[in-house]
Subunit: 194 residues, 2 copies
DNA sequence: GTTAGCATGTAAGGAGTTACATGATTTT
DNA sequence: AAAATCATGTAACTCCTTACATGCTAAC
């Protein structure tokens, strides 16, 4: 079962899926990818790589092929076992918190999986969001007038944001089913109900 | 300077600002308030309360006044020092990550501060979001076509969401300046540029 | 009478950050 | 020549979660 800490593992396997890379570059790519907020520190990346080496998910590749005679960098490559693990982490159904925390990463690597898994991840996220939406809206109805102005405004904005994301997911699911990848632009147009 | 762990402290002080409460109730209110995602566990709440007691930010209040003869609950009340700390945490300018992590909590307690602080918090958040937006869009322009379909779609959606939040913040700032609290509905209307 | 919710706490462990340590290479 | 960036790592520390431990009260 997927644990909290498997996030870095998933991200590293996903990036290495595109080709060999060394630690420093992995960190840079990761920080661009997950640019919205948190950055990953070396203090967690390097130990994670060591752990993955021991688990035989990745292997070191000699850098001697580099023509420009740079300083020795440790380039990693994904093993067959690593690819298996990647597919497992991409598709596994775990606790809500884990799946929500890793949705973005999974999405970013959608090209490296098949449609079946993409649909499961998208639909899973949508149903979790809808469930929460229902709970929050029930709560809102129950406590109606007694909420603070600002707290209420925050709730309202939160609900609206989640509703948008649900519509976005619905568009993507439709596109996926219609077999034409993510829609390139129409997310702002009225798309009817979900 | 505000540390990462001051989040619970801020939230507890904010809730107690509305009146005395015991731990169990604090947790419930908090989990409703921050309903979008993570829940706070007893394992972090109770030790935090103990720590705040020692720091003299809150005090225990005897529950003997309760008429229904319930089991003894430990009801906490905020001290003058606690109120000072609350105002400090509400207004303090810290590292980006801290301010971003705590924006929602600060917003939810806006009624307990004055307009000066509300404006500073709202404008601070808006400028941080705009800065990130600029960075990401520059990055998007630089790497144009070479991005993966799904990774690109994720970026696009992220930019759109942040742009929405910037408009929301601008509405709130305008309302705050016009002295009429948060707008009750017009967030979906076109509001021009920021 | 037993399940569900109220109520408070502790201990162990996970995951990641910050700060430290080191040194090569490229740019200014 | 200095500053920035490339590049890899370790140690200490922080914050939080999970799991455990305990017992009362209300509802079914």
């Amino acid at each position: 079962m997927a644990r909290r800490g498997d996030t870095i593992e998933l991200a590293v396997l996903g990036l290495l899926h595109e080709g060999p890379m060394h630690g420093y570059e992995l960190r840079k790519r990761l920080n661009l990818m997950l640019g919205w907020g948190r950055v990953l520190s070396y203090g967690s990346l390097y130990p994670a790589l060591k752990k993955m080496l021991r688990a035989n998910l990745i292997t070191e590749v000699s850098t001697t092929t580099t023509p420009t005679s740079r300083r020795p960098r440790i380039v990693y490559e994904v093993t067959p076992a690593g690819n298996e693990q990647f597919q497992r982490l991409m598709s596994e159904v775990g606790p809500t918190a884990w799946e929500d925390d890793n949705f973005d990463i999974r999405f970013a690597f959608f090209s490296s999986t098949d449609m079946e898994i993409r649909l499961r991840v998208l639909e899973g996220r949508r149903s979790r969001l809808q469930e929460r939406l229902a709970r929050v809206q029930a709560e809102l109805a129950r406590t109606q007038a007694e909420v603070d102005r600002y707290a209420g405004e925050l709730q309202r904005h939160g609900v609206e944001s989640v509703e948008r994301e649900v519509r976005w997911l619905s568009d993507l699911i439709r596109a996926e089913r219609g077999d034409e990848g993510p829609a390139t632009a129409p997310a702002t147009k009225p798309v009817g109900t979900d």
